[in-house]
């Protein structure tokens, strides 16, 4: 319907973001579709700003970030003498994009003998599934990947990872349930060297960021990796459920404090959730989003690209 109204040109195709576009169709229709109607008129109406605020908050962008975004666009509209809503939309798009870009590229890309990726997150955010997807992605790039099953706490977490390992033909180093996750990490590092692997991905038990002892345990895993391999873990990625609201910021903050997360993987974006909290995470914590998870299949992981993400959200 919106396509007819606004005669959409596909920006995403040019950017090669067919996958993001596809997976965000629902999001776009339900939420950013509304933005398009907002910006559809001939002149900027006063309630445009209120409506805009409402829409951003409903996308979990958060009160502070929303207020700042709206003020910024308002200011620029005035300053630049803009009268048409479509132009205001372009400005909003730019401003939203700004919060997500300007970060250094992923450290995984740098050349080294063994790259270590530590995966952390709260319970149920989708760590294990994401690790399988990530391993597959790097395998497809011709890398030799090993997975460490260091979630020795949750019942059958090791089995879950082993099933994935078989499906994607990737070795999984595991210990006994309830064994020391530090020992698993250590073994996995040794095993990765022996196998001449390029990338080791470490799965950790889900933990709420408010649990002091569990966060300390995570710091220990981090330091075991750094003692065995220079500058490891080279990436520490926080897996964040796209359905999460404002607590996402608190999570990112705590995990950044304890294990210096270098990026975020935003999962479960195949639903109607918007993952708007990543704007605040980019803005306040300077942590980039690296990947987005868009389904339960092993191929449902996409490199996060801010322009594609934001344009994808706006495109009709």
């Amino acid at each position: 319907m919106f396509k007819k109204l606004f005669g959409g040109k596909s920006i995403t195709e040019a950017l090669g973001g067919a996958k993001i576009k596809e997976s965000l169709t629902r999001t776009r229709n339900s939420f950013f579709g509304q933005i398009n109607t907002l910006f559809g008129g001939e002149t900027i109406q006063p309630d445009l700003w209120d409506d805009l605020e409402a829409l951003l908050i409903q996308a979990d962008v958060g009160v502070d970030t929303t207020t700042e975004l709206v003020e910024k666009v308002k200011d620029r509209v005035q300053l630049e003498g803009i009268t048409r809503p479509a132009q205001a939309q372009a400005i909003l798009q730019q401003e939203m994009q700004k919060l997500l870009e300007g970060f250094a590229p992923s450290a995984v890309e740098e050349y080294r003998i063994l790259t270590v990726i530590l995966i952390v997150g709260v319970n149920g955010s989708g760590k294990t599934t994401t690790i399988a997807k990530l391993a597959k992605l790097y395998q497809q790039q011709g890398k030799k990947v090993v997975i460490a099953a260091a979630d020795t706490f949750r019942a059958a977490a090791i089995d879950q990872l082993k099933v994935w390992g078989e499906r994607i033909d990737c070795p999984v180093v595991a210990g006994q349930p309830d064994s020391d996750p530090g020992a698993v990490v250590y073994d996995a590092l040794k095993s990765s060297f022996a196998r001449k692997a390029n990338i080791l991905i470490i799965d950790t038990a889900g933990r709420l960021h408010t649990k002091y002892n569990l966060m300390k345990e995570l710091e220990k895993l981090h330091s075991i990796a750094s003692k065995q391999v220079h500058a490891a873990p080279h990436e520490t990625l926080l897996v964040l459920d796209g359905t999460t609201g404002q607590n996402a910021i608190s999570q990112a903050k705590s995990f950044k404090e304890s294990v210096q997360i270098t990026g975020v993987i935003l999962t479960k974006l195949d639903g109607t959730s918007k993952g708007g909290a990543v704007f605040a995470i980019g803005k306040e914590l300077g942590v980039p989003v690296r990947f987005i998870g868009t389904g339960e299949g092993v191929d449902d992981l996409t490199l996060f690209d801010p322009p594609t993400f934001v344009s994808g959200l706006f495109a009709v």
Partner: protein, 444 residues
Amino acid sequence: MFENLQDRLNDVFGQLTKRGHLTEADVDKALKEVRRALLEADVNFKLVKDFIERIRQKSVGIELSKSITPGQQVIKIVHDELLATLGEAAPLNLGGGSPHIIMMVGLQGSGKTTTTAKLALHLRKSKYTPLLVAADTRRPAAIEQLVVLGRELNIPVYTENPSVPPPTICANAIKAAKANAQNVVILDTSGRLQIDESLMEELSQIKAMTNPQEVLLVADSMTGQEAVKVAEGFHKQVNLTGLILTKIDGDARGGAAISIRSVTGIPIKFLGTGEKSRDLEVFHPDRLASRILGMGDVVSLVEKMEESIDEEVAERGAQRLMEGSFNLEDFLEQLQQLKKLGPLAKVMEMIPGMGEMAKSIPQGEVEKQLKATQAIINSMTGKERRNSKILNGSRKLRIATGSGTTVQEVNQLLSKFGQMQKMMKQFKNPRMRQNLMKMFGLGK
């Protein structure tokens, strides 16, 4: 991380106490803060709008009380309104013939499998004989997860080959329960998106084939604005009868509960409060209301203390304090307990009104000092710990070297401890003791 709503409101009202009643302008200013607090707690945007309107009507023109601040008055109104929305805790409906069927539904990763095990344990405590059904055939190792949990709790788990359709598994499980005289069956279904039509249809089939008394939505307390759509989706498909809110042991404010409750009208039945199977609690509306308002959570603090502190050790310490025979050995023991609670700043954040103060404590400073104190006491002999009077210059030098501190630091600790002991000696006096007990609201 969020400022306290109470502090913010006190700030808004400032000198207001002198005027007789709240004007519309006062209320508007206050409501802006309330709105913000609710949105930061992830209460649905549209609900916040309605909510604020109701509070506005109740707040304008209320008489200002002399005993409490206007901020507290508004908070009371908001709190009451939240309580009214949250409703009372509702028990599980286990009427009808045996076996009673409970069906667990929800998004991926909301905590269904863990909660299924917790619920079974809860029911067994009430003399039921539960059977768990592993109907999640999609997620790798989900069946194994439930089997492991069942084994740990010694509760039977019904499984079939993952290639069997879940509705069939559930129907077969009920037959098995009847045959084995198990009187509650809990169906653990796969996590699914509420917009996934074929999987939602599967839920309807399970429901039709099992006719459950309870269909419980398991929802993550960290859920954002989407909570409304998720709850609506599941409610439309399978007519939910209750909500279990999980991961409440984190710092999420849990506004999603308000959203879900408002759009579906279903009662909140339980809260998941931890990773262990016993961590399931009957829902308390007042605690959740305070939490949503970010008013600190003393109850959680107390729970945290109970969890980390060895009661026997704490009691022994208290006893020795009262007797006035508290020595450095006891002191060390208590310090070790305190350390288990985590950083002091984090603990303080949980106390209402202490959030600001917590921020002023330099990161790790207190912990560093605690560590030094511990090192000093650890470097003493048992005799020295029990009787610090024997510490002379050469002993102090030895202790300082052993603990990597200076004699000066050792002296500081001893003098502080000396003052403490002196103070504690006064506890021996029964009158002093009674006064102190009164101060903490204990005794007569």
